[in-house]
Symmetry: C2
Subunit: 232 residues, 2 copies
DNA sequence: GTCTGTGAATTCATTCACAGCC
DNA sequence: GGCTGTGAATGAATTCACAGAC
């Protein structure tokens, strides 16, 4: 699901947070926002961990990679911690993304509430289908994929989202990379190859369901011992 | 992104495949299907690994958990391996899913091509909004969420998909569990609590983008050394 | 010679358990 | 007394490297 180098201590700044921790920080952020909305000013690792669905020791270790932002005997100041995590995640600036492919999924993504609160701005939509170019989706005029390079350059877009059919994914990825994009979120059912230095994350809806089906199978006792034949 | 117990050797059948491997098997399956379509009959671990975007040693170790389905000095028979993985993943039967929430995302999911080829069948759509109940989405009549329990029982649905706003997620999860469902895929931006024995996988679109933004930030040299202040 | 299958080595992640501070 | 922060211990996942089958 992830293809990323892990630069633990590989750069000058010396920070280097484990990948697994980075993947959880947004979850903590969400939990903190929710607490803040409820007017909670301070919380202990237990409470925050429960909100986030993780074990408290893991939460504390994760936070320890950022610094010592809690108070022993007391807990964490909700607003202060929220700010520190947001800063570490780069949410003190907005990130512009381009979505390639405005089918069902691309449209759903562009309509997704909650990007804006997390420093994500859908800056452009592009599609290869001339029928769709010029139409308006979520208040954005769909551009032709031919303009991809120009759009990326002009709007300083850093992140590309692929929401095309699987067959188009590699070509789109190549064009995104050629346009200078170094972070790609791929929803298409295909593995895309990219040069070093480009990060790709992949979300595959049917894979998630297949993983659940596997566990479900094991629970319901359809225990396929070596050579049990097809049932349905 | 995942909350699952790992039952390595915890059951009678003695199989027990690592979670990380289970998550990759569908990827291999996809790569094998693609090779089969191209008329390839046999392939070595290197080729398959490249298609799947993993290191060849990892691929071989993953496959070794299923059994010895390759031939030394030769490689793997595409069709045979494909069948073995499909069987292990439970794809020799169809899995019925119910999607709760027929907004943009729920609609996109119900229209998703490629479920059927992977043993996933969208058996029902439900929504809480009376305006949507009775409408037809992807050839399925949307039912009221009040009928959830009846639908699950009648159609023997094993997997529930939550595609509601975050605020409704916990209630929907509770109802799915009460209806007897033990596998949930949660797209809502909220952590849901479920009893032991219920598997939940979570996909959060904005979290994936936030993770990319973090790495992007580190690449573009916005190196936030402890106390460097906001730039944009 | 080729390529699989797998123990051993390594790297990464989680959890424990407690010292240190409030 | 309560709760954080973190070394040390455990557990999982990845990668190496090579014996063994073809």
């Amino acid at each position: 699901m992830t293809i990323l180098r892990s630069p633990r201590l590989a750069d000058g700044s010396g920070r280097g947070i484990p990948d697994a921790t980075v993947a959880r920080l947004p979850v903590y952020l969400r939990a903190l926002n929710s607490l803040a909305e409820q007017g909670v000013l301070s919380c202990a690792s237990n409470e925050l961990a429960e909100q986030a669905g993780v074990n408290p020791a893991k939460l504390r270790k994760d936070l320890s990679y950022l610094g010592s932002y809690g108070t022993r005997g007391v807990g964490y100041d909700v607003e202060y911690l929220r700010y520190q995590i947001a800063r570490e995640m780069g949410q003190t600036q907005d990130w512009d993304v381009v979505i390639v492919g405005v089918g069902n999924l691309g449209s759903a993504l562009s309509a997704y509430q909650g990007f804006s609160a997390r420093g994500i701005r859908v800056a452009a939509l592009v599609d290869a289908d001339p029928q769709r170019v010029g139409t308006v989706v979520s208040d954005i005029v769909v551009s032709s994929v031919d303009e991809l390079e120009a759009i990326v350059a002009e709007r300083k877009i850093a992140i590309g989202v692929i929401a095309t059919p699987g067959t188009a994914a590699q070509e789109v990825a190549d064009r995104l990379v050629a346009a200078g994009i170094t972070s790609i979120l791929n929803f298409a059912p295909a593995i895309v190859q990219v040069p070093d230095g480009v990060d790709v994350r992949k979300v595959d809806l049917s894979i998630e369901l297949q993983i659940l089906a596997y566990h479900e199978q094991r629970k319901t006792g359809t225990t396929s011992t070596t050579s049990k034949e097809v049932i349905a």
